[in-house]
Symmetry: C3
């Protein structure tokens, strides 16, 4: 099927997707190490988290999951798990390493998710949200599997950067630009806001407690 709106270069899309799979895989593997899983549990969690964003995107658009058609995704997701096992000390020497890899995965997948959605006839507003969901999917599944309240619910500074990153791609595409600069800008904006939000400890206000809370 010819794309309705081609967002940007297909090769770049694949590269960004593979990179997103790898960094989300690292975040999953590290979460597995922290949860004291055994070595195969760590690899499985890395693979699941690395692949979840792309699988979610494909299923929601109505496509067969690309993760099983192209061996590259599986290989790179498993590789991320193995890297976590071989080099946890190196990875964890970084400050808050799960955060960094998670933010990178969020940034890459919100852009590729929005772009893939546009290529398959999803409306612009739908493509923005679907991009954000693609970015958020891996982290949500990681948190559910290790039994935490998902990060996207704990802080608005997870959904907002994903929506912004996706919106940049969708707006550029709607204006007819397929310039490589826009997906890269979208990913950079998403990553920068996410990391800055954690680094400077920006807070989104909580709503007041419901009245029946104290009963």
């Amino acid at each position: 099927m010819a794309p309705v709106l081609q967002a940007f270069d297909p090769t770049l899309l694949v590269v960004l997707n593979l990179a997103g799979t790898f960094v989300f895989g690292l975040s999953g593997g590290l979460a597995g190490v922290r949860a004291r899983l055994d070595v195969f549990g760590v690899v499985v969690l890395a693979a699941v988290v690395g692949l979840a964003g792309g699988i979610t995107r494909d299923v929601l658009i109505g496509l067969p999951a690309q993760a099983f058609r192209d061996w590259g995704y599986l290989t790179i997701a498993i590789l991320a798990g193995v890297v976590t096992l071989l080099a946890p000390a190196a990875l964890t020497r970084l400050e808050r390493p799960i955060l960094v890899f998670d933010a990178a995965g969020l940034a890459l997948f919100c852009v590729t998710g929005a772009s893939t959605a546009l290529d398959h006839g999803v409306a612009p507003i739908g493509a923005v949200v679907l991009g954000a969901i693609t970015g958020i999917g891996g982290g949500v599944l990681r948190d559910i599997l290790v039994r935490e309240i998902p990060v996207v619910l704990r802080t608005g500074l997870y959904a907002i950067p994903a929506l912004l990153g996706a919106a940049i791609v969708v707006i550029a595409s709607a204006r007819g630009s397929h310039n490589l600069a826009f997906p890269i800008l979208g990913a950079a904006v998403c990553f920068a806001i996410r990391v800055a939000g954690v680094y400077f400890n920006w807070k989104v206000p909580r709503p007041p407690a419901a009245h029946d809370e104290g009963r």
Copy 2:
């Protein structure tokens, strides 16, 4: 594709789906307020819970998720989250508000889920169960995300009304009736049984504990 069995008026179907999205969104937003999420977490949870039923239905039938093709669903789900934030006091002044909105969402989605399934060639028994799953999906996801055992597992008076509501639509359709009264009756029956069950505290018996429980 022409529908195999057209359950009822497509416009009513859209209206009921939008209404179901809104009330499930309210139940999600209120659950978010109770879980002390920040304002964006509340909106995201509202949107996720509002959209989950319809997305589950579409994915299980094998359709692209309508939630991203039609901007109305997204808009109304986000609106439900915003309403929760603006009026939590008013909403929580109602007795057990999450229950009421959750029951309304259950009622609306079991009917629209069964109807959409029939329109796409699912067998009658499958359409009953798929209708129930569509109704149950939002509440299950809400409970998983805030880390509770899902309500559908905690009480049989969640699955039973959803199955009954869906069955009314499927039976009417199988008998050739596309009268608007049947989906409305199905939703009303589902809602009434669900709310009455909680109000009168009807209990479904538990099975005896397994013998190896005490070891």
Copy 3:
């Protein structure tokens, strides 16, 4: 669509799928009894766990969920729940009964998942992993719903037998053999390794704790 690679006899595939649905349903029903759910909660959990593997497989391949098109799956999954309720004492007299049924479901679904994936044009490596995911899906969902860390993450001896069972089917198919012996061998190998691993308490090593764990 004609199958790209037909893995083996379609009738056997259906029989194995129904058997997998039933045994996973038993494992779900027993988990429900242990979690002190009411009788409908037990039946719902049995049905969900019994159907989850096949639904996951169909959705990931891009097919409409067969569980709703063929009444047999629903019937047998619900039947598993009813059997759990009628005979919990008999079932639990078996040593570690959830384990045994779960291992049988894992064995059957990893083989049928890989085979169905091959029939729909998934690449060999993808079919191995998709087979394993099909096997793992029911148990993961069961554990998430009753709020445990999923067994697949807790022990590598869950993913490994599923991958091996699926790999036997994929390798046989790639070499042109559609002999019934291979899916049966695959299921037997998966079941034997899974049960032996638990029986002899084989351990997969854990990775060393991350350095920032103690901070």
